[in-house]
């Protein structure tokens, strides 16, 4: 087996058995990145020297018998996570060349766990986008078909894992930015409950929705990485002080007696033909394993998209105000301060970021605050109540992750609303603060499809258990993409 094809848990076992060193594994990945990344553009920064130094340190820990499950494992970090001393751009021209003075809490936790950082992955600018086409540094391409998008905004992380250019990766999910690219690239992506993972050092897009989570080759790896990053952080007051369970203990293929809900609103009009059948077939596999499945309604779902596109831009408009060209990052020269502000932001931000800043500024303005922001917060409550009502009778909700498979580059960039609709199945989960996972459940026209599982808040153990059970069901055996530009004509 190719070294780069190993999952994290397989690689960890091999490392601990001393059959392989982390330096060897890291070298293999650096070579793999060199070979495939010119095709994919998944990485913005490859941390070659740091990676090898970290691998050597990991090998010392392994030799001393002090290794944990991630010691020596090569990991990719979405470029929205700040890394001390390593350029962090969030996919924006605004932060080109910016070297942060500190590291995100999750980055520190992974460093402490002995992980090896391969590099920083490409993303939609400031995590705003569903296709990665809004990266200021050029799009990531889908390893299954380089004429297609990988999804977004964590498209770089998803593509890197799918193309074996990272064992495992971190992404961030504000409206589906982990789960949707995971689905489109055929990997596992998990968005934890809001408050489960520290956001300190995550360059904020929408603070009440953002959450960091793993992208992985299988559910086991996602569970391991989640366990490493979860938990209370005194530097993030929105993290919850609950003990972090051993998520790997939930890796049991048993769903007997579980009540699974399928919300009819998630099978949206305009969904790609064949998608519904594929997802329902995957749900059928869980039913055959002993779960019961019921059709339910989450009636506020159609309003979730509009709500999201008020709340997220509103928060973003404030979060991005600090980029004024004075303290760090891109700075345009101009004769006066106000002109410099204007030029810096006009030239530093891309079109989608500007669009959202304007929407958010408008929604928060005194005249429209009640009509938009206040109303959106009320609908947010309704969306939560919908889920609460379903969870009173069911253990989990199952749905498609994305209404379509990976679409072609340029297909939706001219129509922002079409792009926003890509997240219609994922963003209610962020609005309600719930955990969700996308697991690969088949290929449609030769392109990956994701099954989304949603559980109550802090129900990640159940989430992992159902996802693992599905993975083990044999309904779909994960496939690897053959890199290159394919002309797709049915599978």
């Amino acid at each position: 087996m190719e070294l780069c094809e190993l999952t994290a848990h397989e690689a960890a076992a091999t490392l601990r058995a001393r059959e392989l060193s982390s330096v060897e594994l890291t070298h293999a990945y650096l070579e793999r990145i060199e070979a495939v990344d010119p095709l994919l553009h998944a990485y913005l920064t490859v941390m070659r020297d740091e990676a090898l130094a970290m691998a050597r340190a990991a090998d010392a820990r392994l030799a001393a018998g002090e290794a944990g499950p991630l010691t020596g494992i090569p990991i990719a970090l979405k470029d929205v996570l700040v890394t001390e001393g390593v350029e962090t751009t969030a996919g924006s021209r605004m932060l080109k060349g910016y070297i942060p003075p500190y590291s995100a809490t999750v980055v520190e936790r992974l460093r402490d766990a002995g992980a090896v950082f391969l590099g920083k992955t490409n993303m939609d600018e400031f995590a705003m986008g569903s296709s990665n086409e809004y990266s200021a540094f050029g799009p990531v391409l889908n390893p299954w078909d380089t004429a297609r998008v990988p999804g977004g905004s964590s498209g770089g992380s998803a593509a890197a894992v799918a193309a074996d250019a990272a064992t495992i990766a971190l992404g961030s999910d504000t409206g589906g930015s982990i789960r949707q690219p995971a689905a489109l690239c055929g990997v596992v992506g998990l968005k934890p409950t809001y408050g489960r993972v520290s956001r300190f050092g995550l360059i904020a897009f929408a603070s009440s929705l953002d959450q960091i989570g793993p992208l992985a080759k299988d559910v086991t790896d996602a569970a391991i990485l989640l366990g490493a990053i979860a938990g209370h952080d005194p530097r993030d007051s929105t993290t919850v002080d609950l003990p972090v369970p051993d998520y790997t203990a939930s890796l049991v293929p048993d769903v007997k007696g579980l009540r699974l809900a399928v919300p009819r609103e998630y099978f949206v009009p305009g969904m790609q033909p064949g998608m519904e059948e594929m997802v329902r077939s995957a749900i059928g596999a869980l039913e055959r394993m002993g779960a019961s499945v019921g059709e339910v309604s989450l009636p506020s779902t159609p309003h979730a998209l509009a709500t999201y596109y008020i709340i997220a831009p509103a928060e973003a408009s404030a979060n991005l105000a600090r980029f004024d060209g004075i303290k760090y990052g891109f700075s345009a020269a101009a004769p006066t301060m106000w002109e410099a502000y204007g030029k810096t932001r006009a030239q530093g931000f891309g079109p989608e970021v500007k669009r959202r800043i304007m929407i958010g500024t408008y929604a928060l303005s005194a005249t429209y605050y009640d009509a938009y922001y206040v109303k959106a917060q009320k609908i947010r409550t309704l969306v939560k109540r919908d889920f609460d009502a379903v969870f009173a009778r069911y253990d989990a909700v199952l749905a498609p992750t994305s209404p379509s498979v990976a679409f072609e580059l340029g297909q939706k960039t001219t129509d922002p609303v079409q792009m926003y609709l890509s997240d219609v199945c994922t963003l209610p989960v962020n609005i309600a603060g719930l955990p969700g996972i996308s697991v690969p459940c088949g290929l449609l026209d030769g392109l990956p499809v994701g099954l989304q599982i949603i559980t109550p808040a802090f129900g990640e153990e159940l989430l992992v258990r159902i996802a693992y059970a599905y993975e083990q069901s044999g309904h779909y055996e994960r496939q690897r993409p053959v890199l290159g530009n394919k002309v797709v004509s049915g599978s």
């Binding site: 942060p100 007051s237 929105t238 980029f323 004024d324 004075i326 303290k327 760090y328």
Partner: protein, 487 residues
């Protein structure tokens, strides 16, 4: 037409917490070099998050309780958005519609005309960075244009905003209110109270209305007043200015005006096109604040004795006149000084200590424009002077001289007495020759006295005091003079 001013004050006070409002940096930046009390959080680096300083929250509750405010069980922080380089995040974390406290009042005991000012709210926020504007340099890399420097040390220092109701009706009342408020903050130990250094800042909203009416006129907001005196002067100017506009049939515009100390006038600061929409919304990075009744009561129980209570106690405990007690307790520092001096002075000298403190020391403080804790006078030295007075070593006049000396040098009063030979002369044998000389060389007042103008005695006594450089015991000297004149 007669106008009545309607004034409300917004006072910003930096809290004396150890760390800043939302990060671990030291808040004591006053004498630190620029940009040394900073970290990614208070510099607004990408990705940082705020963490609430519990000490600052507690201090705010203290202030609110001292101002008789209600503490609602829930409050929250909001983002106040506006672009300016002194605001490193592009928004200030402040409180908008759910402040930590509301509906209080402050009683102001202004010289015989006490009044009450409503407190609309006390809320907690973060201070901004400081901009230092520089004129164009003639040479060097910045030659040519004006530029500004940023000092981020102040960014994120906890700041409370105390908003008064428009219950103030004169510049004198405004000043008295602000001074009383400062006293409360100082009693609580939460603020330094230095307007010049900016640890205490005061903005005023002022409008005029025809006396006897209850409506509100067009208001202006006056800023940039760096002392209590400036506050009073700026408001007096603004009243004149507004009245002139109204009397001449003009209309006032709602605007922000800055007090120009040098010119002695207020000038418009921002034009209307910059009228701000701060786009407040709840700060998503912070949980709401929740206060249990038990917490509020615990903070209330921890409040120190405030000025009102202390004044009453000084009257009861030391027998001070009400007005003296009020003057002493107006400043916590002065009251602390007084009580320390009383403790060091002889039994029963409390009133003498008060007299010396208010007359002699008060005069010295006023003359130099400083506070008691900025002088070199110690409570022990004031007590020593009182002791020297009581045991007859000093008289009233020499006591003042000794006080003045120890006030500026900090020297021990006994040493000053010895050094200057100021010991009182009460020995008749020593004074007798002086008295005789004075009687012999001042025939006019002697003749006056002898023809019944007894007031002339005081002139002669003055001569005796003068010749002894104030050391003569006036009672002994008077007795000797009378005896000599009767001869």
């Amino acid at each position: 037409m007669e106008f009545e001013p309607v004034i409300g004050l917004e006072v910003h006070a930096q809290l004396l917490t150890r760390s800043k409002m939302f990060c671990g940096c030291s808040a004591a930046y006053a004498d630190a070099p620029p940009n040394t009390h900073v970290c990614p959080v208070c510099m607004g680096a990408p990705g940082v998050m705020p963490v609430i300083n519990e000490e600052a929250v507690r201090d705010t509750v203290k202030v609110a309780l001292a101002l008789h405010c209600e503490i609602p069980p829930f409050s929250k922080f909001d983002r106040k958005n506006y672009p300016y380089p002194d605001l490193v995040k592009g928004y200030q974390i402040s409180q908008y519609d759910m402040p930590m406290s509301r509906h209080g009042y402050l009683d102001v005991a202004m010289d015989g005309a006490p009044f009450r000012v409503g407190i609309v709210r006390v809320h907690l926020e973060e201070d901004t960075a400081k901009l230092l504007h520089r004129l164009p340099a003639t040479r060097g890399p910045r030659a040519g244009g004006a530029y500004s420097l940023m000092d981020i040390n102040r960014s994120g220092v906890p700041l409370i905003e105390i908003v008064s109701a428009p219950d103030i009706h004169s510049p004198e009342q405004a000043r008295a209110y602000a001074q009383t408020l400062r006293s409360v903050l100082q009693y609580l130990g939460v603020n330094e109270g230095d307007m010049e250094k900016g640890s205490l800042r005061c903005d005023a909203n002022i409008s005029l209305r025809p006396r006897g009416t209850t409506g509100l006129g067009v208001k202006t907001e006056v800023k940039n007043m760096n002392s209590f005196r400036a506050l009073q002067a700026a408001l007096a100017y603004e009243i004149r200015r507004q009245a002139e506009v109204l009397r001449s049939g003009g209309t006032l515009v709602q605007e922000t005006r800055g007090w120009d100390e040098a010119r002695g006038e207020t000038l418009p600061q921002r034009s209307k096109e910059f009228a701000h929409d701060y786009r407040y919304f709840p700060e998503p990075d912070l949980p709401p604040l929740e206060f249990s009744p038990a917490y509020v009561e615990e903070v209330r129980a921890s409040l120190p004795e405030l000025a009102d209570a202390r004044r009453a106690r000084l009257v009861a405990q030391y027998g001070l006149p009400e007005v003296d007690a009020a003057t002493i307790t107006a400043s916590r520092a002065l009251a602390d000084f007084y009580e320390a001096a009383v403790a060091a002075a002889p039994q029963g000298a409390a009133r003498d200590v008060a007299n010396r403190l208010l007359s002699d020391v008060g005069g010295l403080l006023n003359a130099q424009g400083i506070e008691i804790d900025q002088s070199k006078l110690t409570p022990g030295n004031l007590a020593a002077v009182v002791r020297l007075l009581q045991d007859g070593t000093l008289n009233s006049k020499t006591a003042r001289a000794v006080l003045e000396e120890t006030f500026t040098t900090g020297k021990d009063p006994a040493a000053i007495v010895k050094e200057k030979g100021l010991t009182r002369i009460a020995d008749p044998a020593q004074l007798e020759p002086v008295v005789r000389t004075v009687v012999a060389s001042n025939p006019k007042p002697v003749a006056d006295y002898r023809t019944g103008k007894t007031a002339a005695l005081e002139a002669l006594l003055g001569k005796v005091m003068g010749q002894t450089r104030g050391q003569a015991d006036p009672d002994v000297a008077r007795e000797l003079l009378q005896k000599a004149l009767a001869e």
